[in-house]
Symmetry: C2
């Protein structure tokens, strides 16, 4: 591995170690820097105690050519990354007059008073450079010593992201630290367990020695990642192997490189100039979000109804009250009625519905917690399907959403084949 291509991340913040927030920085930094050949080798979360920060920064700085810290740059008394780094570097903290003026301007622009504690943010260790923060008051810090680089970034993602894009990546590029990443192809599958997938792919992958293979299961989806760091396989070679795997997997194959189920559905529908809609109960808007999170989805996603209460099912969707009374809101009949109703309301060719008990409470003798009824409306008819999931409310919800999406994906693939055969 090339020198200086390995990154260590140190994330500062008691709130993560207290379980009050989740670490989003690793995911962002990794996916952003990976494509430029920088690999995150290690990521550590530490308390915001000055000694803890100093210990971790010192260890990483002694070992690694590229270190990034996030957090602890703000104005409050528990922000002390700046001071810890000054000690590791053995440099004095000095007031940066330009940063002071920028800070004053920042507060003036927003019409907010600049309190005294904010001034701490204008200090930097001697011989280092402040990185402007376009979306917040705390500047970042760029420390370069004998070709080794230590970068201090602010904690809030809405400040960190633009700073990385507009300041950090250009500086790394100038210094020749960015290159093309090692080739990697990801094969996404649905409806197959992780070890069964490995067994199905093994006969193919065993023929290619030196291939790096990784599996990841998440909510009824399993990704198989093929990569190669020693140059033996090019991106094109990996793609050919992946194609071979995809063919062997048949309709359990979803797509390459993290393609989302909702994106595949949206693309298929756009090709056909057809619309879809959703009606959901216990997933409360999550199925709809899968589509509204895709840029340009409004061309194929007509809309959705969160029919959590029976009243909403009746008033927004026009489902007969007697149907809900007779069969219950968690039933195949309700799932079918929800899918059909929202499809008709929005003149959509396809519709998905979800109704069930995501837990932790609820459930009835026929439908214990974790029971979900999915509905699918298509130009060919309307069906329901009963599924059962274990786990927390969020797990049941995520699996229900993926189950519904995968059903529609397979349905669209099937009719595409039928159309092609005509």
């Amino acid at each position: 591995m090339a020198v200086g291509k390995d990154l260590e991340i140190i994330t500062i913040g008691d709130e993560l170690l207290l379980g009050k927030a989740s670490d989003k920085h690793l995911g962002y930094l990794a996916s952003r820097l990976n494509r430029f050949g920088i690999s995150v080798r290690r990521s550590v979360v530490v308390t915001d105690e000055p000694e803890a920060i100093e210990t971790e920064v010192r260890a990483s700085w002694n070992r690694s050519e590229l270190v990034v810290t996030t957090g602890g740059l703000g104005p409050t008394a528990d922000d002390c990354t700046r001071e810890a780094v000054a000690r590791v570097l053995g440099r004095e903290l000095i007031l940066d007059e330009e940063a002071k003026r920028d800070l004053e301007a920042f507060f003036r622009q927003r019409g907010r008073p600049m309190t005294q504690n904010n001034l701490r943010q204008a200090y930097r260790p001697e011989g280092t450079e402040l990185i402007p923060n376009a979306f917040g008051s705390a500047p970042g810090l760029w420390c370069e010593v004998d070709g080794r680089i230590l970068i201090l970034l602010p904690g809030p993602p809405e400040e960190l992201h633009p700073m990385v894009e507009n300041e950090v990546l250009p500086r790394l590029r100038e210094r020749g630290r960015l290159e093309e990443a090692a080739p990697c192809v990801e094969i996404r599958t649905a409806g197959v367990g992780e070890s069964l997938l490995e067994n199905r792919l093994e006969p193919i992958l065993a023929r290619y020695s030196g291939l790096e293979i990784g599996y990841r299961a998440h909510n009824a989806i399993v990704d198989c990642r093929l990569s190669c760091r020693d140059g033996k396989y090019s991106r094109e070679a990996l793609e050919e192997i992946a194609d071979e795997c995809a063919e062997a997997l048949g309709e359990d194959f979803v797509g390459f490189d993290g393609q989302m189920l909702s994106k595949i559905i949206s693309d298929r529908l756009r090709e056909r100039e057809q619309l879809m809609a959703v009606a959901e109960s216990c997933t409360g808007g999550q199925l709809a979000s899968c589509f509204t999170d895709i840029p340009g989805a409004s061309k194929t996603f007509a809309g959705g109804v969160v029919a959590y209460s029976n009243a909403a099912k009746v008033q927004l969707l026009g489902i007969p009250e007697c149907l809900l009374r007779q069969h219950g809101a968690v039933s195949p009949e309700a799932a079918v009625a929800m899918a059909t109703a929202v499809a008709e309301k929005l003149s959509a060719e396809y519709a998905l519905s979800i109704t069930g008990y995501a837990g932790p409470g609820g459930g009835d003798p026929q439908n214990p917690v974790g029971t979900i009824h999915l509905g699918l409306h298509s130009p060919d008819g309307v069906w329901s399907r009963r599924v059962n999931f274990h786990g927390s409310r969020a797990t049941v919800q995520n699996r229900a959403v993926n189950g519904a999406l995968d059903w529609l994906r397979r349905e669209l693939a099937k009719t595409a084949i039928a159309n092609a055969a005509k």
Copy 2:
């Protein structure tokens, strides 16, 4: 600090360092173990390379009395935590016959074939104990040496969570490792910046020496955490200080201990036996999710409409097409019409609406990306409010949702005061 109360977590998985998934284990383990007096001091994510795992486990095991690893216990070739830990402990891996039988039963029950690679999961280092996995094939591992404990947990959350609840916590309790946590109170605020909040609370908090104070800002909400580890302040004493802060903050004070805006709204409405509904465009179901994620919300949350396209606004909500043509779908007029329409459809006293450009694309000259119009319908009338947010699509969406929720929270607080005064 008591010996053996500090925990280090080692999370194994290339997928986290590649940015393909986010670490959910730290948050769960921290919040679960914290209430029993166990503090997470450090959490590190490493690659799934055997040497990397071995190095980190060895370092933590030499330093800490309590170490947890997550991941790398599965059946595939890239799962090698078990082997790395055996090397650190200097023990042989042996086949556990009971675990082998359990594995065979697991696959029989699910009607899935048990492939040869699954058998690896029945091995354990000599002198250690397998922890049964009720929701997956990979058992955990419990290693205890001279009062120090190393626990290996599986990666999938739906397997890890029940294993912690049903196996790990009871074992720690038996061994006297669980106690009451240090007292802590969290003051949640909305609509005040982090440093301004510190300034407003400083005159109060400065009077109490030895108090630990931490601030956390997230999507227009700022939490101030008061805690005390040395026994100087009891939980009751912290609550009194927090009450004083809450009073000083007036209506910017939201609640204590991470209370969610949607939960507060839901509670207020339940007291009054009133209903609310939502209609959202660019947040695509996220506003609705805030309510369906609260157990028992169906008593106050009537339902929601994801009116992403103009057609949905017309067909599901009955908004006149001419209104959308004249003023545009992103306008105060549209926000007002959406809130009123969904309130009327669902016979709800209150309704919130969100329409805007969350980005990255979209926007028009009057409404650049990040512009959101919120609508609030109440028994007293209907209003719109224009807000502007910077950042990614997700940031804009989250802030829009919190902005809408906080508006309704303040409105409900106001009318509560007015009612009380009558």
